[in-house]
Symmetry: C2
Subunit: 440 residues, 2 copies
């Protein structure tokens, strides 16, 4: 087939993300490992990037669809997605995996969809080159924190295919946050289709290593240009992507140390501690800074006069210990409104219950109990869990002026390692599991 | 003096905000009242807009200067302020005072100052035409609510001069919020000079009526384009202005009705309820919506098992009642970390203490106490106070499924009216007072 110049240009621009065949020096793969064979590459490139079919067995874990407000208007539709690719000169060099900090580098494209009540509801979603947002200085997000987000990851599996993990859980939580923030809801399946397309376009940004992944940051902000604390009739749903390594640098042992200061409270009954809203994070920064100044990596958030453990930094917390009946038990605080319903948390509970090798419990526990268990040598492990950090063992808590040493790293076959392996085996495609959704 | 065309153009553009002399039809005054005489106008126009000197007696109420972090870098300086005026075609028509809702119309100019740690600290402040902000989609403000603001007003006095009210209090509170949010602090006196210049340039937007004023919204946001919950090394301090009428429409009686639902909590010990951070507002929107759906104007925020009254919507709350000793007493909740340290609140306490006509008390009180006082006919008035609403009488509280009627509007010479008059007399220049700072 002979093509005209115009058509050639059109195709080049449209397919720039595949140009690594021809200009491998310019568009570096996000990898320190060897490239897959040209043959496997060829086969993948011949497949059109497109929407992913959700596997039939996937629905078994899906939460209920969100109920939209009756006046939501036109719904969000993936079939209306348009794509405007970055020009070759806009493409960014990909960083070395060894250089990846969390959220420092961004990929070439982003996804956006506006909602305007006055224009009838959700507008057509679009994928565009990564670009700045243009906001009115009165936009509600800038004054009243009308904003929420999700954290997801795309993993390049050992078979070279890209997977995302339980996206329906993120979509559900995001919609629940939207309702609580007076922002418009959307169909999670439709939005996931657009996300898949975005990841597919920026697929070479998914690191070619198990030591890293591509972080997806779906974000929903209220952009009404009016002061006055009220619902926002205009909103922007967007997603940016960044290749990420470790969320924070643990100590040399591989474990983290925590500041537990009962003077600070992250969340309380009647608040929004169980929603992934921006407003939960700003108040923590000052405390995190205080922890850092003491040489501690994260904050352990306590609640109540009995100093219940609730969360660690931006993670859920788990304890593995020997209970009063002498049984080994994995325990994590319950979903009582004070903690974020973590998807990693839910997955670990589910896996551990399937294994059936130790007791699994959702219940509150306190700092005095932790101290007592250590004294009686019944505390085995403490660890944090979350999408960004996966599983993060804890070795020390600075509490009421004292350093409490946690023997997490002294166990021979620790549970934290086991759950981490089980999760990453699913995420990196070492085992086949309905929680992993393949992006074609 | 004969001027060249270029110079004429330059002067016209520089002085566009004064063009009402020549093109009064095009640039309408923000007023429904008659214009002041041409002579008074002339005199005012002959004065150059510029920085305002703070009156010597003003410092008597000023809070302590803020302590900057040692690594703040270059400080914020008003002497570096540059001005880029809007072109005549950019000027917006001014709305009728009757049409003013809260925060719907904005003036022609805004003020901006960037802070970049990597560039050595505060950059030069500038006044520009009102324009959109261009933000990286990863800017911390959009994800973690790294944002705070202030609310101030400029009043056109009965003598035609423009006044702002206790600006040093807003500047202090803003800096305290900045510290809590991991954002850079600034010199409040320097910033106030820039604000004065901004108001001076947009002076015709200050309504020519006592029924309205010009609202100033200083805002500080974290704009670091990196994900990860942490302090922001880049920030934008900006101010927009809007002519405002009433913050919300009261009922036909002039008083508001409230929803008091103990299931919702605004603030908590160890949180940031006493800081004017964006994160305090998003979680309230949903509850405010619930109040509106019940035909109630505002939310009365309760705290604790005894249902202490803390705030009303975005206002502090006051109760005037007959205490156990049979004395008339004005009471408001104490600054215990759960409520915003309102400047109107502080001013009312100060005025009432000066009057010495009734007891003035800062102490907690509860809903059961309110109910009991009503039963005993000892509750006289309940009202909310704040910059946006000034003083807002309360006539009804919907609490635990019951409507509690408050006799605020039944008093013959109510205290809420008296404090409102005292405040607005200062603000509109009917009395001379060190709290009012004149903008020349």
């Amino acid at each position: 087939m002979v093509l005209g110049t115009k058509e050639i240009c059109r195709r080049v621009i449209r397919n720039q993300h595949k140009l690594r065949h021809y200009i491998q020096q310019q568009i570096r793969l996000c990898s320190t490992t060897s490239l897959r064979t040209q043959e496997a590459q060829k086969q993948e490139d011949d497949e059109q990037p497109g929407f992913t079919t959700i596997r039939p067995d996937f629905s078994t874990v899906a939460p209920k669809p969100i109920e939209h407000d009756p006046d939501i208007g036109r719904l969000f539709k993936a079939s209306e997605l348009s794509v405007r690719l970055a020009s070759p000169t806009q493409l960014q060099p990909k960083p070395d995996v060894d250089d990846l900090a969390f959220g420092k580098y961004f990929t070439d494209h982003m996804m956006k969809a506006f909602y305007h009540k006055s224009l009838g509801g959700w507008q057509k979603p679009e994928i565009t080159p990564l670009e700045s947002l243009v906001l009115h200085p009165a936009a509600k997000v800038l004054h009243y924190a009308v904003e929420l987000f999700e954290g997801m990851k795309a993993y390049r599996g050992v078979d070279g295919r890209i997977r995302i993990f339980r996206p329906e859980m993120n979509m559900h939580r995001m919609n629940v946050s939207a309702k609580r923030s007076g922002l418009p809801t959307f169909d999670g399946v439709e939005f996931t289709k657009c996300l898949s397309r975005l990841v597919s376009i920026d697929q070479e940004w998914v690191p070619h290593t198990e030591a890293a992944s591509l972080y997806l940051r779906p974000t929903l902000i209220g952009i009404d240009p009016t002061l006055g604390v009220a619902s926002s009739d205009s909103a922007l749903l967007y997603t940016i992507l960044c290749p990420v390594g470790e969320y924070f640098k643990p100590g040399s042992s591989g474990a983290v140390s925590l500041l537990a200061d009962p003077r600070y409270t992250r969340a309380w009954p009647g608040g929004v501690g169980d929603r992934k809203m921006g407003s939960n994070y700003a108040p923590t920064i000052h405390v995190q800074k205080e922890a850092a100044s003491k040489g501690l990596q994260q904050v352990l958030w306590l609640y109540g006069e009995d100093h219940q453990l609730t969360e660690v930094g931006t993670m859920n917390i788990f304890m593995f210990y020997i209970n009063d009946n002498g049984e080994k038990e994995l325990i994590t605080p319950p979903l009582n409104g004070l903690i974020l319903p973590g998807i990693t948390r839910d997955s670990i509970l589910s896996l551990a219950r399937q294994w059936g090798r130790f007791k699994v419990n959702e219940a509150s526990f306190t700092m005095p109990q932790v101290c007592q268990l250590i004294k009686e040598e019944r505390l085995l492990e403490l660890f944090g869990t979350g999408t960004a950090c996966v599983v993060s063992p804890i070795e020390r808590i600075h509490y009421l002026g004292e350093d409490i040493l946690i023997p997490t790293m002294e166990q021979s076959k620790p549970v934290f390692d086991e759950v981490k392996k089980a999760l990453t085996d699913i995420q990196y495609g070492k085992v086949d599991h309905p929680w992993a959704m393949i992006i074609d």
